[in-house]
């Protein structure tokens, strides 16, 4: 039973085959060694590492998480040991599990180039996901990937250098379609839609922001409709581009909706924190839905929803 489900659930993300269309999102799988005790990792489609930078980062001051209605506002400040230590101590742990996609982040083109170079040819890396939501130190902009020029430049450089598939993670809370088109033209083999949108939570008693870090990000079921919209808009603009829905997928129903909107796979973030087995139960739920509809694979759900009205990306709110 399990074997037949895994076979029927496999999808291809632009040259990156995964056994189920359910991945664990960046920053939600610890340092690679925690997950093994919590879930049968071989039944997870793929796992994205926490975002790795060139230099070590200590990350944001606590508190780093606060609950908001049907969501969380979080900020880790990309805490990570830097790429050198990552390759030495963390990557061997990650590669014991499902296919590993390494998330890379930086504030300058040079940093992305150095990171891609450092990962090049390393055994066990199935793909690279380009985190684009941090500040742009070269251009002095708050969100590096919110601009077509920089998406083109950085995704282009990573894609030209990389020997493995490159997923571009488009920032949330912005007009995603032009950025998605730019990333696709620059050579990304797959797009992750979207990163968490920036958000603010306030500690009323202390009369200050509830988080210690400068920017909070909204995640959890609260953002699901935003994700579905982004996926549908990009799927229409780039019908052949594999898309991964990320943001607010908690149940298999959410996942099926994301596939119907045009995604080839989903990433599970907050839901993995609530229930470490969620990536496996969601995959089972997708299999049950395929069986119910008599479809052979998740790709047959892709974009099967009735035509979605054109709205935001054209800038005319109706």
């Amino acid at each position: 039973m399990t074997a037949s489900i895994r076979r029927s659930l496999s999808v291809d993300l632009g040259g990156l085959p995964i056994a189920t269309p359910v991945m664990i999102a960046a920053g939600c799988a610890g340092t690679g060694k925690e997950l093994g005790g919590l879930v049968e990792t071989r039944r997870v489609g793929a796992v994205v590492t926490r975002t790795i930078t060139v230099e070590p980062r200590q990350g944001s001051a606590p508190p780093r998480i606060v609950e908001t209605p049907s969501g969380i506002v979080w900020s880790t400040g990309l805490q990570n040991p830097g790429v050198d230590v990552f390759l030495l101590t963390e990557l061997p742990e990650w590669t014991k599990g499902p296919p590993v996609i390494v998330s890379i982040g930086g504030g300058s083109l040079e940093e992305y180039v150095r990171l891609t170079g450092a990962l090049q040819g390393r055994a066990g890396i199935a793909g690279i996901e380009v985190h684009l939501s941090g500040p742009d130190e070269e251009m002095q902009r708050p969100v590096l990937g919110a601009h077509v020029d920089r998406v083109t430049e950085i995704v282009g450089a990573v894609a030209r250098m990389s020997l493995v598939p490159v997923l571009a993670k488009i920032p949330g809370g912005v007009d995603v379609v032009p950025l998605a088109i730019a990333a696709a033209r620059a050579g990304a083999t797959c797009l992750t839609l979207t990163d968490s949108p920036p958000a603010l939570a306030i500690d009323l008693a202390a009369t200050r922001p509830a988080l210690g870090g400068p920017t909070g990000w909204l995640a959890g079921p609260a953002v699901k409709p935003l994700t579905l919209r982004a996926v549908a808009d990009v799927a229409r603009a780039l019908p052949r581009m594999p898309l991964v829905a990320s943001g607010g997928v908690r149940t298999s129903t959410d996942a099926v909706e994301a596939l119907l909107a045009g995604a080839s796979a989903v990433q599970i973030g907050t839901a993995t924190l609530l229930d470490p087995v969620a990536p496996v139960t969601i995959a089972h739920g997708i299999a049950a839905e395929l069986q119910r509809r008599g479809l052979p694979s998740p790709s047959h759900l892709r974009g099967a929803v009735a035509p979605i009205p054109v709205i935001a990306s054209e800038g005319t709110h109706t």
Partner: protein, 297 residues
């Protein structure tokens, strides 16, 4: 670490708190003082994160073998309110035991246990294990008012010298546990200090122990996302052992018990406030069945 759908054996009011006893043999037999469980919230609500409950006691032997008890503060937040309203024979999804436990002194004998409010609950499990190892246990416990001092009678039963303080003087001395610390250390000849609670309290304990060169262990409370090391949000600024620098440790897997001498309190904003109580996540407490006078099936 085990996951269990644990039946609620009993739930009862204890002063300002609600105490829940769960049947979870696989977790109870592994649990050690200072550890916690992560309790799932119902799926149909708008609060999502698991609540992290310090184990007050886990009963491995006797009539209550296989049970865990923890204590929540009704009204502290939606999650603890939901937990406090659960009824016996219901069940909740818990993962545990989680985190690093307190360790016991090998040679030193005089132990002082310090806590405020709900955080005190976790110290009884520790106190019993210390007494069982032939250690002398003294306690300094406090609360804002009489109702919020957790089990003062049980504290007297467990320890040699108990100092009770309340902010308003309704029970014991008026003041804070921090004010009462120097005298308690002197009277009991404390050689090791254990503390649990909010960063501001632990910072004061750390300063006192540093001045008097007393070894100490503190169980921190910091907001957690998952409780098992996945999300990296429960950050505690910690110096490297070799003193070469620092990084944020995770309270859930690197702690919650830390050596306070290595915690960089100046880099921890919550330690700069004067709040001695944490909000949610709540602390779990397991109860001593011998002291149980309430209705248990």
């Amino acid at each position: 670490m085990k996951r269990a759908r644990a039946e609620i054996l009993s739930t009862r009011r204890l002063g300002a708190y609600q105490s829940l006893t769960l049947v979870a043999p696989e977790i109870a037999e592994r649990a050690r003082p200072g550890q916690f469980v992560a309790a799932a919230m119902p799926e149909d609500r708008n609060f999502l994160l698991r609540r992290h409950l310090t184990i007050h006691q886990s009963s491995r032997r006797g009539g209550w073998a296989g049970t865990l008890e923890f204590v929540v503060e009704p009204g502290a937040g939606p999650g603890t309110t939901w937990l406090s309203e659960l009824r016996a024979h219901g069940s909740i999804d818990i993962i545990g035991p989680l985190g690093k436990a307190f360790s016991y002194p090998k040679r030193l004998t005089n132990c002082l246990l310090v806590g405020h409010g709900r955080s005190v609950a976790g110290l009884y499990f520790l106190g019993q294990e210390l007494v069982a190892r032939g250690k002398r246990v003294d306690m300094v416990i406090g609360g804002s008012t009489m109702d919020t001092v957790f089990k003062p009678i049980e504290a007297k039963r467990l320890s040699q010298l108990v100092t009770v303080v309340t902010d308003d003087g309704t029970l014991g001395e008026r003041g804070s546990v921090v004010d009462a610390l120097p005298e308690a250390v002197a009277r009991g000849g404390a050689q090791v200090v254990y503390a649990a609670g909010a960063p501001a309290l632990l910072r004061a304990v750390a300063a006192l122990c540093r001045d008097r060169k007393l070894p100490a262990q503190v169980a921190v409370e910091e907001r957690m996302g998952c409780g098992y090391g996945l999300c990296g949000t429960c950050a505690v600024p910690l110096a490297f052992k070799d003193g070469s620098g620092w990084d944020h440790a995770r309270a859930c897997v690197d702690g919650p018990v830390f050596n306070p001498a290595r915690v960089l309190w100046d880099r921890w904003p919550a330690a700069a406030t004067d709040r001695l109580s944490a909000e949610e996540p709540a602390h779990v407490v397991a109860d001593d069945p011998r002291a149980g006078t309430e209705t248990r099936p």
